[in-house]
Subunit: 222 residues, 6 copies
């Protein structure tokens, strides 16, 4: 690669290496010649899935440490839909740090007015809503509905896509969603199939965040 090539670090805060690999694969479309190097890493000390508030809070400091130690990247993406540690990481670097929930929601709004979210577990929905209100975008939420599967099941399970389709239809037809956000970094492989089925935009949050990171690093003058 060129010595000037921009580099983006995508961190999976859970310790499930298969999820990291799925994330990385989903980013292949953004790995174009002349673009940025997109590196995906696993937070080894993270929980196997980020499911509770304890999981979210427990990864904040380790994420900051990763950002501080790997300072030779031009942008960072925290690849968990709860956007754990986002502000503590931003405090640690002058480079842009993107949260995938925030970026997914913003990207959905460039293509639709109201978005629906497919969550993995019901228990996460209240936490997501709280965060959505914190970033001042809750007025655009059509609804959030849960698969009630584990992160691991979602990434690998056989019946995942059909469950996602059923839920996405409810979000679209009952809740009025005009776009669908995959509420977990591990659902990326089903994005295209879901979009083909629904006929409205389906957004993978890590893809959304890396797109914004790509723009930021390619346009940066420094």
């Amino acid at each position: 690669m060129s010595i000037n090539q921009r580099r983006i670090l995508v961190i999976n805060p859970n310790s499930n290496q298969a999820v990291t690999e799925g994330i990385s694969e989903a980013l292949d479309g953004l790995r174009v010649a002349g673009g940025a190097e997109i590196v995906c890493q696993t937070l080894q000390s993270g929980p196997y899935g980020v499911e509770s508030q304890k999981d979210v809070d427990s990864v904040a400091l380790p994420l900051r440490q990763m950002v501080e130690e790997q300072s030779n990247f031009d942008a960072y993406v925290i690849a968990c839909y709860s956007d754990p540690g986002l502000y503590i990481c931003r405090e640690a670097t002058k480079k842009p740090v993107f949260g995938i929930q925030e970026c997914a929601v913003l990207t959905s709004l460039a293509m639709s007015d109201r978005f629906g979210v497919i969550a993995i577990a019901s228990a996460s929905i209240k936490r997501h809503l709280r965060y959505l209100r914190q970033i001042g975008l809750q007025g655009h939420l059509a609804g959030e509905r849960a698969l009630n599967m584990t992160v691991a099941e979602t990434a690998s399970g056989e019946g995942t896509l059909s469950k996602m389709i059923a839920i996405a239809h409810k979000l679209k037809e009952e809740d009025g969603a005009e776009s669908i956000i995959l509420g977990c970094a591990g659902m990326a492989r089903h994005r295209s199939a879901l979009e083909a089925e629904l006929s409205i935009p389906v957004i993978d949050p890590t893809q959304a965040a890396v797109t914004l990171a790509l723009g930021a690093v390619l346009l940066s003058s420094s």
Copy 2:
């Protein structure tokens, strides 16, 4: 280029060819080898600058016609900060159509909580605010202040940067803006200098929209 290369059409709704060239130049950073072809065109029938509501409304149908006639693009960007004709163009194609004000605001929110806008003319501010409320994002506006120059002056004028710096400082220090949006497609050449001076993100709206378009076309499976 590859026969599969994605193509993005950026339309400048005013008839000032120099503005179109400035827009195109500002997009060079996003023209990477394996990315998308980014084509910038001038709406020949447009007004010399889009300054009044009449200007905005008068370009809606011609923009739609351009989108319909040039159907071999994968995404469209309307490069005027008033987002003229956005909905009529979206109605005309299944491809994504991006408005630069909308994309600039959304991009600013991935990097900051409250944005300030540098408008060209005071007369545009009320129109911008109305639109911002329409897209449900007015709660994040720190303030909008005007240069009170013409579109042509902004693109070429000598004293433009120093005026922009003065206004941006007011937006930052008095209004609490944490990022600055350039409220006209013709201010792009000053983005880097302004960002260096302000030490907060400065967003060129066309760059923001083309970044989102780039992500959409690179990730599209069709």
Copy 3:
């Protein structure tokens, strides 16, 4: 008429003369001795019904031209529920220009807290909601439901009233509407019957706008 008599121009932006006549008839109650002359005209170049965003945008400039050419009126009313061309017309004259959706919503709020809207077609609802948010009054919307008939059918069709009654009951009982707005200029003839059936205020938008125009011209000192 007196040389000082005030005059209000009501423009039907669609080219369906029967709709214009229905509008005019519905305004008879406001044509009182000593009041204002209320003139209803058809935009000959308009579409047969304003149903799409293209229809809305296509009438903006012709409406402005009518307002400019007929400058000897004291107030103008644009009699289409999408309020097409409202801002471009306001830019063209110092006389007040009223949009019927805006006036209907405001009038409903003088008599109730939350209104429901009977739309002609589902496809219009998103456009109406966007506009409602633009004018900052979306918080008062109980719901909007569609007849899914054409403008022409609504004005003349046999079964229109019974369909309107069924939808209005849903707006009232399921959505909590405390008043009903007829979401099309062509539904006026059914207003009284619907109000008698529902026992809550039913507002014809053109009547609402002409009432406000009447107040403005009678109280004007110029």
Copy 4:
């Protein structure tokens, strides 16, 4: 008058007969031959001016009694900017009852996006804001500023107009008001002069309410 002529009762809740006469005079423009009879009455038991919360609450039951006793009117207007007793009166009759603050605000929104209010006394501003929030329209308030005069002084005082002009300019230039509402039923005589000076709409609340009442009674089928 015709036996079918509609009748509107305007009640001044303070016991200052001069204020009632000023209100009545300001309504002459709406007393057209074929229109409605507009009757203005003084609440004899009211305070000399409605200035405190006690004043507001003390007139609620007497206002209801007036509405109940004078049931042969077709609409009622409560002519005090605090809209005292509005809901208790609405509970007492099936005829429409209009509050002048509510109607003034709604009317201002048909002509502008953000309104400023000239209050008589600073002490009323918080009460007005509370009410504005209750009716869900506070988002449109540019600002409210006080003359700090009594109701009686406002109606008769020599220097009132010049003070009003000074305050209205602040509302327009500093607060961004696009229209001005006279925040007291007793300021009506200065409306035209103020509007001529400011070049933006100036709204007298009683005129606004009686206009809406006029539309309601003329269009009523009962």
Copy 5:
């Protein structure tokens, strides 16, 4: 009691002495040895139940008179869920005056994000919503549903608890309430049983208000 003991006056605005006694009994938990004296009184001139807007408005002046006459208390609580006369009483004393609806809602927000309300009668719901909007807290309402019983029935009726449980389950499961507010001062005796059944916080509004009053008087330095 100590000559320095703080005293709180709780006023039941309806004339039903049994309700006052029920309120007093529900406050026993807050009557601790070193705390404040908590006195509950009945507004003898009040209606037998506060159910209509007339009931609400009719007690405002008598409540103020009670507050003025009994000036040797350190804080006042108006024990009716419509918070009648709250502002007129606050105007009459420098001591804090608490409304039970306001305090119940605020207390629920310290323990949950969205609350549901059990109203006695459907007719009160609109009035409660209006007030909730006035105090700027409507965004946290999950829903309000009515028992459709009288105040007297609620306090004494046999089947009250089972009806309350059924409604509270709907508020929790269908409306998403994370806490339940008893929307009447006379439901206190059922609080514990309901909380045990629902497994989410159940708030008695008078207990909530007296808790805040207790803090205010114990911490006051005067």
Copy 6:
């Protein structure tokens, strides 16, 4: 003490023992006979002051551990104005856990409509605003202004009160605050003096939270 006496644990998340002692002293007014035992503890592993996002995030897990280990309390209060670890602690126990910022804001709203906040450092203001938006109460903020002192200086410094008075006057007169919240657990000793000077309610957040905790434990049936 009685074997049934309720117990409240107040945790100071910073390791400054003097701050803990100041907090405890400020709670003496709430330590009444027959009430609850109020125990104040220092988080030994906490930073000397909670000033950055890193400080906030670093105490979350240790706070949870304290709550889990000391399970024989009936309620918990986290005594830092950033409400660190609030949700992770709530997840760890069925007992109520109160955050002092949340409780201070809620308590201020029982006595006023708009509150002002005295922060210790400017750098905290954005974090506080973000949290205020998360809990959906930002609409009531009049303003927040900083002393720009350290936590330690605030608790002990000589000139603190006079600086607080100056800032509180700006919050009241320029920003329209009707009550003042002390934006740090270490300012409690100045509450009474500030309230006497300002003549509007001044709220110490820890006192506010312990008041709510006191009500919760005294009224609890378990």
